[in-house]
């Protein structure tokens, strides 16, 4: 007889030996405002074949749309391919070797994420489809069941629609009041407005750690402490921060933290809800069905333990493998180093754009993360994006899913350049040259309209 399947504890795919760079823990952290070493960036770029493809008429791709989605390194794609072709089975149910391996791998991915964001353990990490679903899980699974008409929900004026619309719905359905922290002129959260509105009625604070439009880094740790002082729960949307900077649920102290795999070198189709055990225990599942139950009778069911109670149906197994590998890649470079690199590129970009007469939105570099929103006077951002697309430059133009923030800025749309580990100063050169070319293309004398 075949012996019982051996539980492969090391079923997680081996680390890729081809990744050249190993962070040296004996060295001090990178100097402030330092770009990654040029050789390292070259080595990193080799891991992203898409950066070698030719755009339009043979232009190099200058990918500056990382805040929308990052590219994925070979290591991530390869790990997912190997899982699909060598280890695929459905998790948590089968009594065969592949199922054991798949389950082990999938659970290990939760543990990897927990370690990555400082959650107490894998039971405090649930996989969702994306950040939006993770926020909706809290909005519906906690907000709808816990909020009452006398409660208030505090959000901010710089939220992505993903961290605004779910709370509008909760307010609408529960009768709770929705309040908004105002912004300063330079696009930071207004401290006075925050403290004015944070009274005993506030039951929930929902805030992004980094604005996807302005790049503003919000003081979520201090905000969480203040919110907890009035017994409010706190959700931090970390979709734009986790890819770049060290983020630790314990240090922030927040109740829930959400982010996506695809903005941090991982695949689409996987998001994360991490949090404090106590808060997660108060959160009801959003989806019901298989995988999330312990026991089912004809009339009722008992939920499985955390985090599986939040993961109904066949979960994103391949995506979890990819996310795990993406974490590995990010950790090897180091998030302090990544943040210095992308912040420094954003700061240099901001300076260069201002030099050529662009209007740049948002705070000074010391309060800014890895992106720059701007407008070229007299050129609609969609026209700009269309024209510099011919130079191989991929930027985003539009309202960036933050229409209330556009209203605050008094513009219909902005252009946005966002950076990551494989971007270089030369990318900024190409962008600025493209802007100058767009100004030439669009130059027709106005005769007074």
């Amino acid at each position: 007889m075949v012996p019982p399947p051996f539980l492969i504890l090391t079923a997680r795919l081996p680390r890729d030996p081809h990744l050249k760079y190993e962070a040296d823990p004996s060295q001090d952290g990178p100097e402030v405002d330092d770009l990654l070493d040029a050789e390292l960036v070259d080595a990193i770029r080799k891991d992203f074949p898409i950066l070698d493809r030719k755009m339009r008429e043979d232009q190099r791709l200058v990918y500056l749309d990382n805040a929308a989605t990052s590219q994925r390194p070979t290591q991530v794609v390869e790990a997912m391919r190997r899982y699909q072709q060598e280890s695929n089975a459905n998790v948590h149910r089968g009594i065969h070797q592949l199922a054991e391996e798949a389950t082990e791998t999938y659970e290990q991915a939760h543990a990897d994420v927990a370690a990555f964001v400082g959650a107490e353990g894998m039971e405090c990490v649930a996989f969702t489809k994306n950040t939006t679903e993770a926020i909706n899980l809290v909005a519906q699974g906690w907000g709808l069941t816990n909020l009452e008409p006398e409660d208030a929900i505090l959000v901010t004026e710089l939220e992505h629609h993903a961290n605004l619309v779910p709370w509008q719905q909760v307010a609408d359905r529960t009768g709770a009041e929705l309040r908004h922290v105002a912004l300063t002129d330079d696009g930071r959260l207004d401290r006075a407005s925050f403290h004015d509105q944070l009274d005993e009625d506030v039951a929930l604070l929902a805030v992004s750690q980094v604005s996807n439009v302005l790049g503003t880094v919000n003081p979520v740790e201090a905000m969480t402490e203040a919110a907890h002082d009035v017994d409010a729960r706190v959700l931090v949307d970390a979709a734009q921060s986790v890819p770049h900077m060290p983020v630790d649920v314990g240090e922030i102290g927040c109740d829930w933290l959400t982010f996506s795999g695809h903005k941090m070198l991982g695949p689409t189709g996987i998001g994360v809800l991490a949090g404090r055990r106590e808060a997660l225990e108060e959160t009801e599942p959003l989806l019901f069905g298989g995988e999330m139950i312990r026991r089912v009778t004809k009339d009722e069911a008992e939920w499985a333990e955390m985090p599986w109670c939040f993961e109904a149906g066949t979960p994103p197994m391949t995506e979890a493998v990819g996310l795990s590998q993406a974490i590995d890649y990010v950790e090897r470079i180091g998030r302090e180093a990544i943040h210095e690199h992308s912040r420094e590129l954003a700061a240099r970009c901001q300076r260069r754009l201002e030099e050529v007469g662009c209007e740049v939105y948002g705070p000074a570099p010391e309060h800014r993360s890895a992106l720059v929103s701007f407008n070229v006077p007299g050129i609609h951002p969609h026209d700009l994006a269309s024209i510099i697309d011919d130079d191989g430059v991929a930027i985003r133009a539009g309202h960036h899913c933050a229409m209330p923030l556009m209203d605050h800025l008094g513009v219909a749309a902005t252009a946005r350049a966002s950076f990551y580990i494989y971007n270089t100063e030369e990318d900024i050169d190409v962008l600025v040259n493209g802007i100058e070319r767009a100004e030439e293309v669009m130059s027709v004398e106005e005769d007074g309209r």
Partner: protein, 140 residues
């Protein structure tokens, strides 16, 4: 469709954008209707005068937005003067793009089509063949 973004921005298109022939508001007018492209933030306020025989006698617009939406509006309004309203209602996206004479990249077609759907809704609302809406929005 062209592969090139810049090829949309021909000199004559930019002339219509920067120095439109049909900019303004008709007073009095037979009908007024607004259009909006929420994705880009393009806005249009169109006024038309219709003759008793259903001919479009004059068309003007005011608006803000990208070069493609604003130039397309100026070109379209120039073209539909003297046309039968029924003829305008029967125009489709391809005919509009023919009128513009440029290859509009796929992601920008909605910018170019905003004036046509706005004019068509304005006429239909005026005729009572469509329920009134404050503004015609392209979907994003």
């Amino acid at each position: 469709m062209s592969d090139s973004g810049s090829s949309m921005y021909r000199q004559d298109i930019l002339e219509h954008y920067k120095n439109p022939d049909n900019f303004g508001t008709l007073e009095p007018h037979t009908l007024a209707h607004n259009g909006e492209n929420p994705l880009c933030g393009d806005t249009l306020e169109i006024t038309l005068n219709l003759g008793d025989d259903g001919t479009i006698e004059a068309a003007r617009f005011e608006g803000q937005g990208c070069a493609i939406s604003q130039a397309a509006t100026d070109i379209l309004l120039g073209r539909i003067e003297e046309m039968e309203a029924d003829e305008v209602l029967s125009m489709d996206e391809d005919q509009l793009l023919d009128v513009l004479g440029i290859d509009v990249s796929p992601l920008r077609v909605k910018c170019a089509c905003l004036p046509l759907v706005t004019v068509q809704d304005g006429i239909e609302i005026h005729r009572g063949t469509m329920d009134p809406v404050d503004v015609t929005r392209t979907e994003d």
